[in-house]
């Protein structure tokens, strides 16, 4: 059976036609245009590629980007979104994993796309959006894939130093959106305020909920996030009812003293996720918007955006520990403990902390071209010897509280959530070691001040290291505190004494 997502695009075009589906960057796209543009993109792709192949899409923060993504999908292929404003070295790494035969770029990013293409054919978005579509070809392509076929590949920080491409099927995304919308109940009267960059997993709800429900999405200009008055004026101008934001994004206006002069007037529901939100700043939102429903969401990209949610029942105080709640429809959660010696897994006892594991149709297909990494975390359920069943080991720890809700306890490994982004400290270190003169280093996270630290030894200046990071790595992975040491502290076994470095941060 072909994907329901194709039905959403067609149906929303016939029901909502001339209404705006996406607005942003001073431009709008209607439901009818989304159907037409995506069919044109699909035609271009289908004439050049087999089904189930990757197509890199390097377009900006504007309403045509979702049309490119959905066009790739309608050709039976999957899209690899790329942020053309990222440093070239990072983009090269991603292209190295994806190796797409086709690429779509808007005019603004054409030069960087050409520099990276490595010979793959590039379409200029502006040239193909209005090209005539071959309806028969598009229908045939849509019918040739199933909901198990890959829909997109989103890149995330990898501890080996190379980003991992998380490959997700149509079915998994549909499962997430159904689960989410059962809770937030959007319809054509709703307006979503998009915060997440469009190449991020968090943007899937902002792009696909409109075609599913008839709601509209407004892409908020990036620099308004540091300008609370401008941000809230935009929310009011578009009568935004719904926010699905990173916790970090929600904290910013509260940190900067927002709500003093302007407040959002039309909000109905706010969903936040990505990291543990600060009670202090959440409380500012709650005090100013007493009638809004607040929902805490949890989940990794590998389980398609978010797997559990908790609807807040009252205002938080300084000592509130917010649960991450219960699984959405289509998601199941297991808590497993592992015996260090035997390596055997067992179900966590009542109230005991275990690793949060996810199963169900929501799971990603795996990492693209990384079978070993896939096999480490997408494993056969060790508690079920009767039939094969895959679970995903999140690496997050949690326990079920007396109230029956799931609570989050941080990571098993050295992955951190920094300003809403997932960062492997090992990847920061791997990059720092590529800088000439850096002989040894360790990266740590100062959670209280939200700073990535890099301690290093060697013959190089902190300034030069910063410049190199800025040139090659995304901004959120650049250490804000770089400390030169004459020598790194070591443990007797030769490993770096992380505890000692940790104490220096405090």
């Amino acid at each position: 059976m072909a994907s329901e997502i194709f039905d959403w695009i067609r149906r929303s075009a016939s029901v909502h036609g001339s209404r705006t589906v996406y607005s942003g960057n001073g431009e709008t796209v209607t439901f009818e245009e989304l159907d037409r543009y995506s069919a044109s993109v699909a035609t271009w792709v289908a004439k050049r590629s087999d089904i189930e192949r990757p197509v890199a899409v390097m377009t900006g923060r504007h309403p045509y980007t979702p049309a490119c993504y959905m066009g790739v999908a309608r050709a039976g292929c999957f899209y690899a979104p790329m942020d053309g404003d990222m440093p070239e070295a990072r983009l090269r790494q991603i292209m190295g994993v994806a190796e797409p035969a086709l690429m779509i770029a808007d005019r603004e990013h054409l030069a960087i796309a050409e520099a990276l293409s490595g010979g793959c054919e590039i379409a200029v978005m502006e040239d193909i959006l209005n090209a005539p579509a071959d309806a028969e070809l598009v229908c045939a392509r849509e019918a040739s894939v199933t909901e198990s076929s890959p829909l997109y590949m989103i890149f995330t920080s990898g501890s080996t130093g190379v980003p991992k491409g998380v490959l997700t099927s149509h079915r998994s995304l549909i499962c997430y959106l159904e689960g989410l919308n059962e809770v937030i109940e959007l319809d054509e009267k709703d307006v979503i305020g998009n915060q997440a960059p469009l190449d991020y997993i968090a943007a899937v709800r902002d792009m696909y909920l409109p075609v599913m429900t008839g709601a509209m999405t407004v892409m908020i200009p990036k620099n308004e996030f540091a300008m609370p008055d401008a941000l809230f004026n935009t929310l009011n101008e578009y009568k935004v009812t719904t926010l699905c934001w990173s916790a970090a994004g929600l904290e910013i206006p509260a940190k900067l003293g927002g709500f003093a002069d302007v407040r959002p007037e039309h909000l109905r529901v706010i969903v936040f996720s990505g990291s543990v939100i600060s009670n202090k700043y959440l409380r500012i939102w709650q005090d100013n918007l007493p009638d809004v429903t607040f929902i805490n969401q949890y989940g990794p990209t590998e389980a398609t955006a978010s797997c559990t949610y908790y609807t807040l029942k009252g205002k938080v105080s300084d000592d509130t520990v917010l649960p991450i709640g219960k699984p959405y429809k289509h998601y199941q959660i297991l808590l497993l403990t592992r015996d260090e010696e035997s390596g055997k897994y067992a179900a966590a006892a009542e109230g005991e902390t275990g690793e949060i594991c996810v199963k169900g149709p929501c799971l990603a297909i795996g990492y693209y071209r990384a079978q070993d990494q896939t096999d480490k975390v997408f494993i056969r359920n060790p508690l079920n010897s009767d039939y094969p069943e895959t679970i995903y080991l999140t690496g997050d720890l949690g326990h079920i509280g007396e109230d029956g809700e799931l609570y989050f306890h941080g990571r098993k490994d050295r992955q951190v959530k920094h300003m809403g982004h997932r960062v492997e400290l090992a990847e920061v270190e791997a990059y720092a070691l590529t800088v000439d003169g850096v002989t040894e280093c360790a990266s740590l996270y100062d959670k209280a001040h939200e700073l990535i630290y890099l301690f290093y030894a060697g013959d190089q200046t902190a300034k030069e290291i910063t410049m190199r990071f800025r040139a090659d790595m995304p901004a959120f992975m650049v250490p804000r505190r770089i400390v030169a040491l004459d020598e790194m502290p070591h443990l007797p076994n030769g490993k770096i004494a992380m505890k000692e470095l940790q104490d220096r941060i405090k």
Partner: protein, 76 residues
């Protein structure tokens, strides 16, 4: 001005604060930079930057930031 330049260079050693005139408008400083900058400026210059002051015109250049600091110091 010198103190401000020092703070800016610490924050973003890769940016040419002498010559850049569209730091916010062109997205050179992101929202995390602004947050960190606002709290440092509040502490170092003993001022309170309010949401109404958070407009690109006040942060697009080092001179504009300096003018804002002076204005807020006069008001205190």
């Amino acid at each position: 001005m010198e103190e401000l330049m020092g703070i800016l260079k610490d924050l973003r050693p890769d940016v040419d604060f002498e010559n850049e005139k569209a730091l916010v408008t062109d997205g050179i400083l992101d929202s995390f930079d602004i947050i960190s900058l606002v709290s440092t400026l509040n502490d170092e210059f003993d001022i309170t930057i309010r949401p109404a002051n958070l407009v690109p015109e006040n942060f697009d250049s080092a001179e504009a930031m300096y003018a804002l600091i002076e204005k807020l110091q006069d008001e205190e």
